[in-house]
């Protein structure tokens, strides 16, 4: 196996206890970390001048219901450094009925809407988020449609004027 990149080495030295696993495939680095460590790890990635990850490219989640894992969800972060031209993927496993992880919206403002989308679609709560409400679906929507146990044929009642329980707008 090739030598670890600067980022993975730095992370392993600094957060040894919270790094569950790392791997590197054709130059793409991935670190799987303990969910409690997401804010310190993200802070380090952003503020360490050698790493300088100033761009949050993506923040999403995976529902591992049918993947045979012990955890139910994974939240996935993709960071890129515009100055150093390197990137890293951070994954963190979450379990339980109401999965939660700390928000990184205070570090990257762009995380705000990503975290709202993950909340909307997967029902993962982000602690400390400034305004964690649905972003794509409407407030009356029940459930989180990208969860693997959301019934594929399930249809929800129409909302707005003229729908059951609502006066017509006429």
């Amino acid at each position: 196996m090739a030598e670890d990149s600067l980022t993975l080495t730095r992370l392993r030295n600094k957060f040894a206890a919270n790094i569950l696993e790392t791997h590197s495939f054709r130059g793409d680095d991935t670190a799987i970390i303990h969910p409690e460590a997401i804010v310190p790890v993200a802070t380090c990635l952003k503020n360490d001048p050698d790493l300088d990850y100033n761009f949050l490219m993506d923040l999403t989640a995976v529902d591992c219901l049918n993947l045979g894992t012990t955890h139910r969800f994974e939240v996935v972060y993709h960071f890129f450094s515009l100055s150093k031209k390197h990137r890293i993927r951070i994954k963190t496993p979450l379990g339980g009925k109401s999965p939660q992880v700390d928000s990184i919206a205070s570090l990257w403002a762009g995380a705000d809407w990503y975290e709202r989308e993950v909340w909307d679609m997967f029902g993962v709560k982000f602690r400390g988020h400034p305004n964690l409400k649905r972003i794509l679906m409407y407030e009356e929507f029940e459930g989180h449609p990208l969860r693997k146990d959301y019934p594929i044929r399930k249809r929800q009642p129409l909302i707005g004027p003229g729908s059951p329980g609502q006066p017509s707008s006429q």
């Binding site: 794509l136 679906m137 409407y138 929507f141 449609p145 959301y150 399930k154 249809r155 929800q156 129409l158 909302i159 707005g160 004027p161 003229g162 729908s163 017509s168 707008s169 006429q170």
Partner: protein
């Protein structure tokens, strides 16, 4: 007095004739069908030949609501409000398969046919419908207007 140049008709038929050839449309365009709607409206297919060449972007001034493109649950209240704001007489055209049945968006977010929200007069299927199909639908709507009871 009536020596030349007059004809007799029934008032209802005359009103129907006038209405079917002066259709002011409200294009409620949400998706890719809008491209086909524009093609139909432009010079090559020229929807103006049928007296329906004048889109109005105020529902108060429109006769026909063209629902062009996918309607999702979040958009449904807006569509219903636009329909309610239109003055009588009014007609609705479901343009494209998404508005007819939901199309291949058979999912949690999409309204499975706009006739679950508002009454529809003409369904134009297709993904998207060819301009010829749209003109055919328009002519069917005109026929319907001509033969319906005119309230005035």
């Amino acid at each position: 007095m009536f020596s030349q140049g007059f004809f007799t008709s029934q008032l209802e038929k005359a009103v129907g004739w006038a209405r079917k050839y002066s259709l002011f449309q409200y294009p409620f365009v949400t998706a890719c069908c809008g491209m086909e709607y524009m093609a139909t409206a432009s010079s090559h297919y020229d929807i103006d030949r049928f007296g329906a060449g004048f889109p109005r972007f105020s529902p108060r001034q429109a006769d026909v609501l063209f629902v062009v493109g996918t309607i999702n649950h979040k958009m449904a209240p807006v569509l219903k409000t636009i329909y309610d704001q239109m003055c009588e007489p009014k007609w609705v055209v479901a343009f494209g398969v998404c508005t007819c049945t939901g199309g291949f968006y058979d999912n949690y977010a999409t309204v499975q046919g706009i006739d679950t929200i508002i009454p529809v007069d003409i369904y134009i299927p297709g993904c998207p419908p060819r301009p010829e199909t749209v003109l055919d639908g328009l002519m069917k709507l005109q026929e319907r207007i001509q033969h319906s009871r005119q309230e005035f």
